[in-house]
Amino acid sequence: MKYLKNVAQLELDSDKCTGCGMCVEVCPHAVFIIENKIAIITERDLCMECGACQINCPFNALNVRKGVGCASAVIKGKLTGSEPSCGCSDTSNCC
């Protein structure tokens, strides 16, 4: 299942990448692969902007607009003028 085209904000700075493979390790949607000892983004549309790659990249090579893809969080954020934040606690799939 793929979400909207060309919306995910995920950037990889190849100059900083050492090909350690941490992003491949943590990404829940297999967005990255290592090719020729460097990480590449296979399909940006698969990215859900969870931010796992960025926070786990020891070389600061990744930049994600981290956030929750959750409608009620987005609406609440718009209404209160704050950052969208998840307010629920579902099982494994919420926000």
Binding site: A8, V74, I75, C86, N93
Partner: protein
């Protein structure tokens, strides 16, 4: 309750926090508890105490698993540690599951470091490994944990049910273990919560429908009964059928998928109940908006939607919702005069 047996193995241990021994079997109360949670009964207050727990009889070679203090997360972990001697550190995530809490940052590096210190887990083990659930990664910086605690974060599988295989595989996750899915079953299990949550706003809608029907129609009450049926049908389509049909509905936008489903629903109702394709124009204009919104709301429960995408959907659909509802009001007024 048992004692942290690391104290006997390492006499100089500073660990004064007794680890709590937990069963790997689900009691009837656990089953009822998670069932209640699925139906949104007391879901926000289903917690375990943060701290150190053990399954079986762990020693200094046993693995350390990290979990959140949402009871369902913790229960799923301990259930899958059947026959395994292990340490479990439960972080304080305010009763929120691992993935949500990692997104918020409450399942995060700071909290992990705090609990590593508080539980004195390092006194219990001779190795330097801690196993963090794969979906905890958005909150944890593995290299930062290493720097601050000296412990190596190993990301485990997404699903606790893969833990045995993960252990057999020398703590390596296969590609399959790393990937988040959204199967029919995974979608279906979310529908009771979605449905119950949608009922919360129903009285408001029903009062509104009642007032409109009484003021406008000649047979107000009769129309109102039909509207009630159509309304609950809309909720059913938006919160139960939508999650089930998600991958089969055209387009990628949840709002658009939901609108199409709503249109199919209202057209079928019109054909069956009113014997005409368009039936009641007001229903045609408003019911798909409601399914569309419920579908859009389901992004929060899905496993693959991004913040940027959800924002984009709102930006596009909100004006269209407004326009459609306004048209509905105009039709209502035309019928009235």
């Amino acid at each position: 309750m048992g004692n942290c047996n690391c104290q006997s193995k390492k006499p100089n241990s500073v660990n004064k926090n007794n680890a709590v021994k937990v069963s790997t079997e689900m009691s009837i109360m656990d089953v009822i508890g998670s069932w209640k949670s699925r139906w949104n009964i007391g879901r926000m207050n289903y917690k375990v105490n943060p701290g150190l727990y053990i399954t079986g009889e762990p020693d200094s070679d046993s693995e350390v698993f990290i979990s959140s203090n949402y009871k369902m997360s913790f229960d799923i972990l301990r259930k899958n540690l059947k026959g395994i001697n292990a340490w479990i550190i439960v972080l304080d995530t305010a009763g929120i599951n691992v993935w949500c809490a990692a997104g918020k940052g409450t399942f995060g590096t700071d909290e992990l470091i705090r609990m590593i210190d508080k539980t004195s887990i390092k006194d219990c083990i001779d190795h330097k490994r801690i196993i963090v659930p794969h979906l905890g990664a958005p909150g944890i910086s593995a290299h930062e944990v290493k720097k601050q605690s000296g412990l190596n974060v190993i990301y485990g599988p997404v699903k606790a049910s893969d833990i045995k295989e993960f252990l057999k595989n020398n703590l390596k996750t296969t590609d399959k273990m790393k990937k988040v899915t959204f199967t029919l079953f995974e979608r279906l299990i979310l529908t009771p919560t979605e449905f119950v949550l949608s009922l919360k706003y129903s009285p408001l809608f029903l009062i509104l429908l009642f007032l409109i029907d009484i003021i406008i129609g000649k047979n107000g009450l009769e129309v109102f009964y039909k509207d009630i049926l159509i309304f609950f049908g809309t909720l059913f389509f938006g919160t139960i059928l939508f999650p089930v049909l998600l991958p089969f509905l055209p387009f990628r936008s949840f709002a658009l998928k939901g609108w199409i489903l709503g249109l199919i629903y209202i057209t079928s109702i019109n054909l069956i109940v009113f014997n005409s394709v368009h039936g009641n124009y007001v229903h045609m204009l408003t019911a798909p908006i409601l399914t569309s919104f419920l579908a859009y709301n389901f992004t929060g429960s899905s496993t693959y939607t991004s913040l940027s995408g959800v924002e984009k959907e709102l930006k596009i659909s909100l004006p269209l919702y407004g326009l459609s509802i306004l048209s509905g009001v105009v039709v209502l007024l035309i019928n009235f005069f």
